[in-house]
Symmetry: C2
Subunit: 119 residues, 2 copies
């Protein structure tokens, strides 16, 4: 049976404005490596960029199984996370580590199948 090639987690988080996890890029970088490991994914490389005092960060973790990305707006208490894994890795396995780190007041989870066979 042909299965989709990948599963994509789209995660929106809202938390306390200016709370720690929305600012701390280095801690987030460590957390996302753990979150990737939780799903059995392999980190190839990463790119992180902080937009300066009072602003958020962007991070991209390139995986052998696709990628994780995060963008934060501390001033809005918002973070947008994507975790796209192909193969047997399931981004749902990474979700607890991400939620435990950001401790959102509210979050929204959406899963999308990517790469369904062309009919």
């Amino acid at each position: 049976m042909n299965k989709p090639l990948g599963k994509h987690l789209i995660l929106d988080l809202w938390g306390e404005v200016a709370s720690f996890p929305f600012w701390s890029m280095d801690a987030a970088a460590e957390m996302f490596v753990e979150a990737a490991k939780d799903a059995g994914a392999t980190v190839l490389t990463q790119r992180w960029h902080h937009f300066g005092d009072g602003h958020g960060y962007t991070g991209v973790v390139v995986l052998a199984e696709s990628h994780i990305s995060v963008h934060t707006w501390p001033e809005k208490g918002y973070a947008a996370i994507d975790a796209f894994y192909c193969g047997v890795c399931d981004p749902e396995s990474s979700l607890p580590t991400m939620l435990d780190f950001y401790k959102p007041i509210k979050h929204k989870v959406l899963f999308i199948q990517r790469g369904e066979p062309l009919i």
Copy 2:
């Protein structure tokens, strides 16, 4: 009025198995810079990884306005693209350049609003 912080294009492409654009990582890297410019987005850095002969590539373009990512499976004739732009940049403006490059037989477009105000 509070608006969502970003707009996220989720683009799935199916094309000729083993056709040029699914293999050529360098050409894709140039094209995505153009696609970002089409939307008025600013490229900060990029990461590209080729999985070797017979396999596809992964690319991530980190933008001042969030990111673009692409993953290709040439053996399946499939590519998964995400373009997530915040602010006034609209990923719909990048779509023609991407479609003109990959020339898919079939494609699927989904737009998601990211970062709606917490109610």
